[in-house]
């Protein structure tokens, strides 16, 4: 069998000038779990279409069970309704699959500024680690490379908890997927 990408699953990204206002509003909505990022920074906002008074927004989940998805939908609804759009539809697309590579450069900078270590680019698949893991995540506070993983899962599924061995501060790290 071939690969899934060859199956014609293509998600349109509409950049036509007709969707100015609604797109700008949707882009400013904050992620409920990482409120330093907008949905655009996080890379989950896939499409915004305006047709008369009707807006259709397409978002994608980060993890299959991401509980923030319903909050994102509600927040998008509210923001667009408050701006005067009466007919708002939020769709959820599964493909292309979200990975941490979808987080924008701006988003990475904001995460680091708020003490959350951003994911690295092109991290590749998670392999089975049967030896002690190699540290590659830098402390967002002091920049030290001597950091230790305390817990694979942190306050949300998308983050791990680490500690810096130099400044002793714990910090969160957005895991590469």
């Amino acid at each position: 069998m071939g690969v899934a990408k060859a199956r014609g699953v293509v998600l349109p990204v509409d950049n036509s000038p007709t969707c100015g206002q609604a797109r700008a509003i949707a882009e400013r909505v904050l992620d409920p779990e990482l409120p330093v990022l907008t949905l655009a920074d996080l890379g989950v906002l896939r499409d915004v279409r305006e047709d008369g008074g009707r807006v259709t927004v397409t978002i994608t989940p980060t993890y299959s069970g991401c509980p923030a998805l319903d909050e994102m939908r509600a927040d998008l609804h509210r923001a667009l309704r408050d701006a005067g759009y009466e007919r708002v539809e939020i769709r959820t697309a599964l493909t292309p699959t979200w990975t941490t590579d979808w987080i924008s450069a701006d988003g990475r900078r904001k995460l680091a500024e708020h003490g959350i270590a951003p994911p690295q680019h092109k991290a590749g698949p998670v392999t089975l680690n049967l030896t002690p893991p190699v540290t590659r995540v830098r402390c967002p506070r002091c920049g030290s490379a001597r950091t230790t993983e305390l817990s694979r899962f942190s306050s949300t599924a998308c983050k791990a908890l680490r500690r810096c061995e130099d400044c002793s501060e714990p910090f969160e790290h957005v895991k590469e997927i």
């Binding site: 069998m1 071939g2 690969v3 899934a4 199956r7 014609g8 699953v9 998600l11 909505v29 904050l30 896939r46 397409t58 994608t60 989940p61 993890y63 299959s64 069970g65 991401c66 509980p67 998805l69 319903d70 509600a74 927040d75 609804h77 509210r78 923001a79 309704r81 769709r91 959820t92 697309a93 599964l94 493909t95 699959t97 979200w98 990975t99 698949p125 998670v126 392999t127 089975l128 680690n129 049967l130 305390l150 817990s151 694979r152 899962f153 942190s154 306050s155 949300t156 599924a157 908890l161 895991k175 997927i177």
Partner: protein, 297 residues
Amino acid sequence: MSFDNAYDAITDASDDKHWAFGTGFDDPLSGVDRAVPAGVSTADLTAYCLMLADDALVLSQRLTEWCSRAPELEEDVALANIALDLLGQARLLLTRAGEVEGRGRDEDALAYLRDEHEFRNVRLVEIDCGPGPGGDFAVTIARLLVFSTWRLAVFERLVASKDPVLAAIAAKGVKELAYHRDHAAQWTLRLAGGTEFSRERMVAGMARVWPLYDELFTTHEVERSLPDVAVPPSDVRAEVDEVLDQVFTAAALDRPDVAPMSAVAGKSGRDGVHTEAMGFLLAEMQHLARSLPGAKW
């Protein structure tokens, strides 16, 4: 969009009501061609989606039983997050099952209103591995290691399924399952290489789940009748054996030497024939939804 306290957010007049159970989540599958591929039996595809969904749903329910009862706080969080990933996979698969079936059943109806014999999960996920008298943390880790290694191997192949929805669900799932497998492997190493006591428990945990290992690789007639759509689990046996042997070697554990749990008149979990534990599990999972249909808060 921001509120002074959590209660304001819950009672926000413009917001949708929250379901007391289930989600009322709709349209989770757009952006993918949802038509049933040509030549594929809808009955078989529905059954296959239920198999994959029920494995995840039932193990998710079991893992949440550990919430607040794990050996350390980090592990409470980890097991709950793994359960959440599996619940997410289950929801997508149940939605797909309901859509293909075409009888108007949504994910909530399938999760809460089916009876035991209609659940098609493998028996490995339903047995009571603790907390409590049914097992302990090591048994739970043993099951998670076996399950996630197996499901990851299946999903890695399912990414190429002729059903674009299953392929998309699998593409998301492989990333999650790889984390689950790694997490369980790390704990297997720690427990097996820890104290004499922890090692004893890890050995016992692996022996407890091993009788249900063979069932994972028994290809069901539904899987056989969906070429290029379903992944016959017999195809992944060699790979799963090899990965687990790597973990066993690193942990200096022996592969358990115990007899497989037999099927009942040739039928097992995939046919809706379950162990005694299943009825209790469903009673707890479905009670609220069945007592208060459509409840909201």
